[in-house]
């Protein structure tokens, strides 16, 4: 079995390495000190398991989880996050509370064995991220994968999102990024006063809308600052109006 260790503290990685030395069946293929490296290493080495810290530079553990293959078994290693516990249970094979014993570590390995072949639903990491976000706080950035690299879109730089089957197409700074996520979950994560769902398939950054023009009897068209035209449904028109107080 191939394993990746992702933790920004070298002493924390050292414990994992020490415990894994007693497991000849598991080979450490990479050690990462930040989230970008973790995503890159996951794409390069295609590991079976990843031991993942939550608080890391560049990308946190949840964002890494969003971007790696759903068939990689993830074990979260974290110091203390009372409210996140249940969320961990849902999305990860196991979670280890630092400091943990070698015995507890072996129990996590057994769980990985048992759950081999299970694939995480794509929506889970996003929901997990929502579950650990305190009430009243919204997503400040969206992480997307650009080949093996990671691209971060600050919420303010997102022009609009368009639903495309299992994906959303994110339009930002003249480029389009694809991410495996539903538009509804993206809408739920973003600030409701800054983004408006003008249509079943479209979510727009309210600052990009210059005007809304009538189209047919029950539909409208939103004109964005760069001239893009986005269809607006009756419900979307109402949502927009209630948001701008019109």
């Amino acid at each position: 079995m191939k394993a990746i260790l992702a933790d920004d503290e070298h002493l924390a990685r050292r414990v994992l390495r020490e415990y894994l030395e007693n497991q000849p069946a598991i080979e450490i293929v990479a050690e990462c000190a930040n989230g970008f490296e973790a995503v890159k290493a996951a794409a390069e080495h295609r590991p079976d398991v990843m031991f993942l810290d939550v608080q890391m530079p560049k990308l946190d553990g949840f964002e890494v989880l969003e971007l790696i293959d759903p068939d990689i078994a993830v074990v979260f290693c974290t110091a203390f996050d009372q409210y996140a516990m249940r969320a961990f249970e849902a999305a990860a094979v196991d979670y280890l509370l630092k400091p943990f014993s070698e015995e507890r570590f072996r129990a996590a390995l057994r769980k990985i064995e048992q759950r081999k072949g299970e694939v995480r639903p794509a929506s889970l990491p996003v929901e997990l991220k929502a579950a650990v976000r305190p009430a009243g706080e919204y997503l400040e950035r969206i992480v997307v994968k650009d080949g093996a690299r990671v691209h971060v879109i600050p919420a303010g730089k997102l022009d609009y999102a368009e639903a495309q089957d299992d994906y959303v197409a994110l339009r930002s700074e003249g480029k389009t990024w694809l991410k495996q996520q539903t538009i509804a979950s993206l809408e739920a994560a973003l600030h409701p006063k800054r983004f408006v769902r003008v249509h079943r398939g479209f979510l727009i950054n309210i600052e990009r809308i210059t005007r809304i023009e009538p189209n047919t009897k029950d539909t409208w068209v939103a004109i964005l600052t760069d001239g893009t035209k986005i269809p607006v449904s009756r419900g979307g028109y109402q949502r927009f109006n209630s948001l701008v107080g019109g």
Binding site: D8, R14, G35, M56, P57, K98, P99
Partner: protein, 342 residues
Amino acid sequence: MHPLLHSWKATLLYLLAWVPVGLPFGLLMWRAGSLTALEATALTVPVVIVLAFVCITPWFMCRALPLRSTNTLRLYGQWALAAIVVTVIVTMVGRVVVSSLSGALPGLERGFTAVSPVLGAMSMMIYLLSVATHYVVIEAQTSRRSELLAREAQLRALKAQVNPHFLFNSLNSISSLTASDPMRARQMCIQLADFLRTSLRLGERASIPFREEIELTRMYLGVEQVRFGTKLRTSIDVEPACGDCEVPALVIQPLVENAVKHGIALLDEGGSILMLGRIVKEGMRFTIENPYDPLAPNSRSGIGLANVRQRLEARYGGAARLDVEASKDVYRVTVVVPVNAS
């Protein structure tokens, strides 16, 4: 708004409570003014109702004239004036009642002239009694509120003392070192214990010399140094005169902890935390500066900052300052506290 006027029920109950006051009042009118029972009732009922509402008004004046901070002379003067005004109003209401009923109850006129001094004196007495009662009620409310505030502040201080994230991560570092470097593991155990012991001890005290706060901050950074290694670099430059300034315990260490947790820890290469303490015109100024990743997933300052801000406010009111400046990649927190104003 007076608490008795918040609901109809409360107002009604309050007016009912005036029935036992009205009875002897009426009795007195009846006896002193040799009025008939009907005349005494006709006079007493409206007067007592007016008095009942007048006796609510001290609520507003009591708060404008707090017992502790009002000059005694002014206090007596204001209340004497109020009592006289109330007496005049009640007597005038009596007179209006009498003149409007003079057709039906001709005996009232003569009797009222006899009872009006008694009426005035009793109204004044009852009014002043109500003033005293209001002061007692307000005092009780204030002390209960300040007790609650003090307890909350204590709880917050306790919470601020030990951040579980820091504690468990440090224990994890120790767990790691026990295998690879037992001597350093032991050293870190001792450092962590020293920090915990000191922060518990300081947390019990209302204020401490700034020197001790800085010492605690150094202990904290010593532990973090083991966790982060060369990623964490620090520089503390505090003017000696700052050391004697009395400050609330644990206002600086949580801010430095923020700088580590939300700043240095989330930077790949780490960085330097610069701390600067100076005596300035307004008092003592302490600045904490650290690089940060503005795009980091969790670079917000969190609970620690709000906690410190509240505690500074509780202690100094508006006299202390806590400023936060976040430039492109540098985060700076400045605390200014008045010197020896505690």
